[in-house]
Amino acid sequence: MARRVVIVGAGFHGCSAALRLSLQGYEVTVIDKAYAGRHASGVNAGGVRRLGRHPAEIPLAVAAWERWQCMTDIVGDDCGFRPVGQVKVAENDKDMAILADRERQVRDLGFHHEVLIGRDELHRRLPALADHCPGALACDGDGFANPYRTVTAWRREAERQGVRFREGIEITAIESKGNGWRLSGGGEHFDADLLVNCAGAWAGELCKWLGEPVPLTAEAPMLMITERLSPFLGTVVGATSRPLSFKQFENGTVLIGGGVRGDVDSVRHVAETRLDGLAENADTVVSLFPFMKEARIMRTWAGVEAVMKDHIPVIGLSSQHDNVIHAFGFSAHGYQLGPITGEIVADLAMEREPKLPITPFSIQRFQTPCPE
């Protein structure tokens, strides 16, 4: 059995894999070119959302949601998780029809967490919402958590289980060595029996080196946060036909995002904000919550995220090598899934059938040419 595991990437998924593998007795090293949580996992919107998931992701999101309920038992910290619920509001009748279809679709798949609510119920939940919204799709129990705190809690628990973290080292080459791999970076070499690719927006590079290129683009979702406002928003809010996600934290600040994209600076490996997208985002907020017009924005930022062509991640064994596992490409909704990645990776490492259905996430889907 493989003993030494090297995980590239100390984001949430890398930390999650590290913890679960070490609990199974593997000798695990996590390598990150920056530091744990520096990229998507530490700077995201913190949304813990089952609502609106791609059908293939629903079983994973539901399982992950169960882990979020008992975060303290897993890593000794609740990671700031607050299950305040989430709604996706309709702004007109056309939106309402889209949401009704969605509710039906999810129910047909055997899930019941997404529920259509009408005007009265919506405005009861959100008194500050503009009048024109006729209803929403609601998901009770969804909510948000604190991203950087989450990564740190998982990282610390992994360290307590013996995982070694090596930060500030960028892996720049991978070669096969014996039955395993030799990874090199920063003048050092790391030997592994098993390699786990959790390199986020940079995971495509690793795939290239491993001879199985994937259609991955690095994108830069943007966020902005307001000054502290008195509490007015008890639940996380999204919109149906324009990008929006917003929530109010306990300290009163309001986080606004939902998918508007900035730029990725490919040389410096950082994300930059773009004014037009932020302005559009602000416009959406102001039309849904008119009183927010006066709220001052304190900060805007963007994070680098791996987005796959079909907007669902790659999770599973390599198609080329039997000692490589991939978990990347979470396409701007991977934070919620963090707690289950490690379990899947551990199952795969131990050559067990994963408890969750992961066939749709196979890397092979990009290798068999689709019929046009």
Binding site: D265, V286, I297, M298, R299
Partner: protein, 462 residues
């Protein structure tokens, strides 16, 4: 989006000099400042100050008149009361004026956004009645007002002494100057005196200020080694110890003005993430600049104190250099021509800044004034203490972006401008690593808060 040849930020000496120099070479710059009137910190409110007795603010203040006149050339697109809330590496600038957000673009940008006061986080520094010397001076220049007297001034550096004499001349009662310059600094600075003699006028001016204060009988307590402000809900007294004396001494006062020098205001250069280095002599971050004061980002230059503390006269000279640099970059001058024109300016600049090593050594603030103790606030906006930052270091935080996520330190309305340097130094100290390794906050726009409504309007017009 309209593209301008040259946009200059800031109307202190550097910005104004850059504007007139650029104009001389056929460039019509846009000049932006958030203040309603030109002058920057040093010539603040010069055209409208109620302090008309020229003796009070001193000759150096009034020497700003000619620069301000130059800025008023109708060919210069001067935009007062305009806030820059965003700047990208592609030189797009987000402006806010009269509630209206607007984007413009520039081929070349000169940042002349100056300095800010180094925070002096002592126990009780957040009590009402405790201010910085800089704000005490702005009050005097722009409103002819002074805080409640008798005042105590504490700290070190030229500005503290200048303010003391300005107050003296304005008839403000000064209870004491508590000078925190360590005693051995005078000896250490001695070896830089020969260099400083190249700028003898500034040196003499300093000596003159000290003499004026002494003649007037202002109580000047030297070698202050510990300091705290106390009061219930409001400053009531200042306590201090002197080097070699273990007893606290006390003075009742309604006003304490703190100051320990100025540091470059790197808010914007940080936000565009140009390369910064830690200046061990000035104990501050500064952007790395080339011979035309250009940063490592093409088309973005920094003139004046924003690139390292040089003082008003030198800042104006740097403004001229940056103006020539802009003319060169925009093809209005050949390299040969601009180099030739720059030569005398560079010489004068070297002469003027020859005094810096002397001042930097003499007034280098000691560690106890830069690193707040465990119970003292480091971040005023989010109320985070020095102790909390040290605890984060124990938890494994190596840099300020990590502590930020845990403590919210630096995430308040000032965006870390006030606590940034303190947190970097605290973490460096606690982790036994260099400040350079520790790094600084990643800064995010907006530099100044903008409302959602203002931003949304930019979408309609974009």
């Amino acid at each position: 989006m309209i593209t301008h040849d040259l946009v200059i930020l800031g109307t202190g000496p550097a910005g104004m000099a850059a504007a007139t120099t650029a104009l001389e070479h056929g460039i019509t710059p846009v000049v932006i400042d958030e203040q309603p009137a030109a002058g920057g910190q040093i010539y603040r409110a010069l055209e409208r100050t109620p302090v008309l007795d020229r003796r009070i603010l001193g000759e150096d203040y009034w020497s700003g008149e000619s620069l301000i006149k130059g800025l008023k050339d109708p060919q210069i697109d001067y935009r007062p009361a305009s806030t820059v809330w965003q700047l990208t590496r592609q030189r797009e600038i987000g402006l806010l004026h009269d509630d209206k957000a607007e984007m413009i673009c520039a081929r070349h940008i000169i940042l002349a956004t100056g300095a800010m006061e180094r925070p002096m986080p002592i126990a009780g520094w957040t009590l009402p009645g405790v201010m910085t010397a800089g704000s005490g001076q702005i009050l005097l220049k722009s409103a002819g007002a002074v805080p409640q007297a008798p005042v105590v001034l504490a700290g070190c550096g030229p500005l503290l002494l200048l303010l003391a004499t300005q107050y003296l001349r304005a008839g403000v009662e000064i209870a004491a100057i508590l000078d925190t310059t360590p005693r051995d600094r005078y000896r250490a600075a001695l070896k830089h005196v020969p260099g400083a003699l190249r700028n003898v006028s500034t040196l003499l001016k300093g000596v003159g200020l000290l003499r004026e204060l002494r003649r007037a009988g202002v109580r000047h307590i030297r070698g202050v080694s510990a300091l705290r402000a106390e009061g219930s809900g409001q400053l009531e007294r200042v306590l201090w110890k002197q080097q070699g004396d273990d007893n606290w001494q006390t003075l009742e006062t309604p006003t304490l003005l703190l100051h320990q020098g100025v540091i470059p205001n790197t808010q914007i250069t940080r936000a565009v993430d140009c390369h910064h280095e830690w200046d061990e002599q000035q104990l501050a971050w500064r952007p790395r600049l080339d011979e035309w004061l250009g940063t490592d980002i093409p088309g973005i230059a920094v003139a004046g104190d924003g690139g390292g503390i040089v003082g008003a006269k030198a800042a104006a000279m740097q403004g001229q250099l940056a103006g020539l640099g802009a003319a060169l970059a925009l093809g209005k001058l050949t390299l040969e021509n601009s180099t030739e024109r720059a030569q005398p300016i560079r010489k004068a600049l070297a002469r003027d800044t020859a005094i810096r090593p002397f001042l930097d050594v003499l007034y280098r603030p000691a560690k106890q004034w830069r690193l707040p103790d465990d119970d003292t606030l480091a971040c005023r906006c989010e109320e985070v203490t020095g102790g909390e930052i040290r605890r984060m270091a124990d938890m494994g935080c190596r840099g300020p972006n990590q502590t930020k996520s845990f403590t919210r330190c630096g995430m308040g309305p000032c965006q870390g401008r006030m606590c940034g340097i303190t947190v970097s130094e605290l973490l460096a100290d606690a982790n036994q690593q260099s400040v350079e390794e520790t790094g600084y906050y990643r800064l995010r726009p907006p530099f100044k808060p903008i409302t959602l409504g203002q931003l949304a309007k930019a979408a309609e017009e974009g």
